[in-house]
């Protein structure tokens, strides 16, 4: 097992009347049925870097077997984690990150209750996210849709069981 630490820090001196200084560290661990013991995650995709040059809505991270292994899905108890960053610096260009099935075209798959895709949010230049990874076949794919056909680059890393 490995020891992986992820520390989040959110700070502001003027967002509200009192300064905000949130700091939280998690050790990325496997799921366990024990109340007191667990081991660290030990599998990873490594840091992957992909460049996009179209508006197409595509899979960034696909569930199921990959060349780096086969992550167990979250609904089988796994405690996977996914890190994604828009490496650009633009304040206007973004990746729309979603879950589910990508359309492969310039129009994202429509959202609906029980539908096949849902947008989570937008990563503008420099934005990053760290979320638990569902990674169940079809519904757990992580999709991106660039806001421009100009060259944009995303980095991601999957930590999984």
């Amino acid at each position: 097992m490995a020891i992986i630490n992820a520390t989040l820090s959110v700070r502001s001196s003027d967002l509200s009347g009192n300064s905000l200084a949130l700091s939280k560290t998690m050790k990325m661990k496997k799921h366990t049925t024990s109340s007191s013991t667990t081991d660290g995650l030990e599998f990873t995709s490594g840091l992957v870097r992909r460049t996009f040059t179209s508006l197409n809505h595509v899979d960034l991270i696909t569930s199921g077997a990959q060349n780096y292994g086969t992550p167990t899905a979250s609904d089988s108890n796994a405690a996977n984690k996914i890190y994604i960053k828009n490496t650009g610096s633009s304040s206007t260009e973004y990746f729309e990150v979603g879950l589910g099935t990508s359309s492969g075209s310039g129009t994202a798959t429509s959202d609906a209750i029980g539908g096949t895709h849902l947008a989570i949010g937008r990563l503008y230049g420099g934005d990053w996210m760290l979320i638990p990874g569902h990674l169940k076949a079809t519904v757990g794919d992580v999709t991106v849709k660039p806001s421009t056909a100009e060259k944009m680059t995303a980095e991601f890393m999957v930590f999984f069981e």
């Binding site: 820090s9 050790k27 979250s74 890190y83 304040s91 569902h134």
Partner: protein, 145 residues
């Protein structure tokens, strides 16, 4: 406007033969602008005593679609086997086990489809902490009866 930064440090000395060290920081701006986000829920802490799937925050309409928001959620439990299932609408993002946190952008794209929901794994009581820094959220109309 306000200046708020969100930073991440990802480190491991033994995940690879070489050590892992990722460090990144971002100032939180409004959508498409270099102007800082200036609204927040503040840091909230709730104690949940049922396994019911509940809204942490509800999106009653799509009038804020395209605005930029960031969400932090932390499972404050210390019992390793306890988790919360985090969803947006009917789409599961994944499980946060005890001590896990998440940080993500969030778009209030569609009424209720974009609700942020959590479901605890146990009914014996779990603390959950969350924070939303946003560009405006829609408050529901008051009802006195």
């Amino acid at each position: 406007m306000a200046t708020t930064t969100a930073s991440l440090s990802l480190t491991s000395a033994d995940l690879f033969d070489d050590s892992l060290s990722i460090s990144t920081s971002k100032t939180l701006n409004k959508a498409g602008l270099k102007e800082g986000l200036d609204q927040t829920t503040g840091v909230n802490k709730v104690y949940l005593t049922a396994t019911t799937n509940v809204d942490l925050i509800t999106v009653p309409g799509a009038t804020k679609d395209g605005k930029q928001n960031y969400v932090y959620i932390s499972n404050e439990s210390t019992v390793h086997s306890e988790y919360i299932v985090v969803s947006i609408g009917d789409k599961v993002i994944g499980r946060l086990y005890a001590g896990d946190w998440m940080w993500m952008p969030w778009n209030q794209q569609a009424a209720h489809l974009s609700d942020i929901e959590i479901a605890p794994s146990v009914a014996t009581g779990m603390w959950v902490e969350y924070l939303i820094i946003h560009e405006g959220i829609v408050l529901t109309s008051s009802a006195d009866s």
